[in-house]
Symmetry: D2
Subunit: 178 residues, 4 copies
């Protein structure tokens, strides 16, 4: 028995203090990735069931991503035990596609020392909003998504998030029974 | 049942990834305070049993405290739910006593917007190392101490600590059964 | 002959771009100091004629001073040649006098590694606004004052000032003929 | 007559305290640019004679440029009067050429709010070290070059430079007679 006032069995909202976490989590949709970096083989969300998943959607020429989101995601990747937490980058290009193709992303990742796995969000119809971005209804980049061990989307935040809040939120998801 | 690989029943060290947390926790000694600020009445460690306790030992003229420790402690005080986490400052003066008396501390706290409760560590014999500092064997300031819901000292770190690590460590202690 | 569009001979305002510098400089009043630190003997403004003077008015328990003003003044002290620029601190206590007496200031300066000379602004009547603060009509701390080689007050700025602007302003005063 | 101990008439080294500035300046070579942004027409170094020139060589996917050099150059562009100082960016791509073509640079400049004029350093033979980079013997990016009103290269620094030092150095060059 834990002290957490979380009851997934009924219809009550979750009683959770961390402002990053939703009261009404829903199943996270599978992502759609056309190409992977920093991983020997493709990664599916389904395969990560049982682990907490940090999904960081970014664009390599987005200042908020370069200055805050990507460095923070690197810290998360370094800090948490991969047995508990999978940290995944998602390159969700919805503008200026020609300047942010996978080859350019590869250079960016090398130069900015990005070590976590990054998937290229599958291009959308007419090269617009990519597929995973649509599925998750992302409003822009950077966006931080937290998925719990049971595959539920528990947090979705665009913009800059404090390390303290994200560290506590991830740890809370690590610690939940499921 | 939780997924945490923590077994307090036997002699095994705790299997914990957060580098701030000890493998072998021990009971935290009660503090000794001669004067309190930001609280209507004195606070004992014993009275906080059941809550996680963040104890931040500082000196008002210690640069590492002023620049890092005290602002971080203010963030912790703002972020965590007081029902789960008690954030307490301890003014442990072990040098330059004349310049850091309680009246000066009061000015410091007003000017630096310190809102969390702060206790003045009881002066030691011959005005040297104060009593709580001795009991906890603090090596200097700033020092961050984390005490779990069962009253055990789980972390003791001098110097600057990353928000990510301290946020995750506190959340882990929040989430533990006991 | 210099290229500077500065004409001190007539009544025209100075044509100066640096936003820190006044168009109409006036003679800087002598300071009044009751006690000095970091200097073998008292320093008068008059004795610095021929050098640019950076006068940083601060209080040891003022957050803007501790976090910005004093560290910046230390950088100025380290960077500029003392043959050209005299960097002087002025401890202008106008509130909470008991907590910021010279003995406490001495501790502050030791702990925060303040190496530039600091004078204690002479206490005012009834222990209120100190004498130099009145003479210069300072509105608070931190305040940065720049005095040119000819003893004229050329800049007076309360609050945080960018290194770029202050570096350029001081260099401009260094470079002026007089 | 200025107080500066600078004597360009003889063979003596310049007596200058700013560590960014050379004792033995030489004529700065003309740059070679294949394409310009943020300017209605091409800019030559020769056309800037009489003004101080700040030349910031960068690459859009170089972390030190994105995090420090480019923001600092934007501050310089905003701070100094364009009648005195011309601030010019030079995109000197010597690696990963395919990811940093002019179209990508244009996106970078838009996203990172780069307002100063930027020239694309003319590609070198076999697409290696670009022409201006060779002429100035740049060792990498970011590099900050300062050219005085007389067209002499007075500073050449790779890596991060403090605002205080660069502000003072530029002001010193502004203030020189020539």
């Amino acid at each position: 028995m834990t002290h957490l006032l979380i009851d997934f069995s009924g219809n009550h909202p979750l009683t959770i203090m961390n402002p990053l976490l939703f009261p009404y989590p829903q199943e996270a949709p599978e992502w759609s990735v056309s190409e992977w970096f920093n991983t020997p083989e493709p990664i599916t969300l389904a395969s990560l069931r049982g682990r907490v998943v940090v999904l960081h959607a970014f664009q390599m020429l987005c200042p908020g991503c370069v200055l805050h989101g990507v460095p923070q995601t690197s810290r998360l990747f370094q800090f948490f035990d991969p047995k508990d937490v999978a940290v995944i980058g998602l390159h969700s290009v919805f503008e200026n596609h020609a300047a942010m193709k996978p080859d350019a992303l590869k250079v960016f990742m090398h130069e900015f020392r990005v070590k976590f796995p990054v998937g290229v969000d599958t291009a959308g119809i007419a090269n617009r909003i990519p597929v995973t971005m649509q599925r998750y209804q992302l409003r822009g980049t950077p966006s931080l998504l937290l998925i719990d061990r049971a595959g539920r989307l528990r947090s979705h935040k665009m913009g800059q998030v404090e390390d303290l809040a994200v560290g506590a939120a991830i740890q809370q998801l690590i610690d939940e029974t499921f």
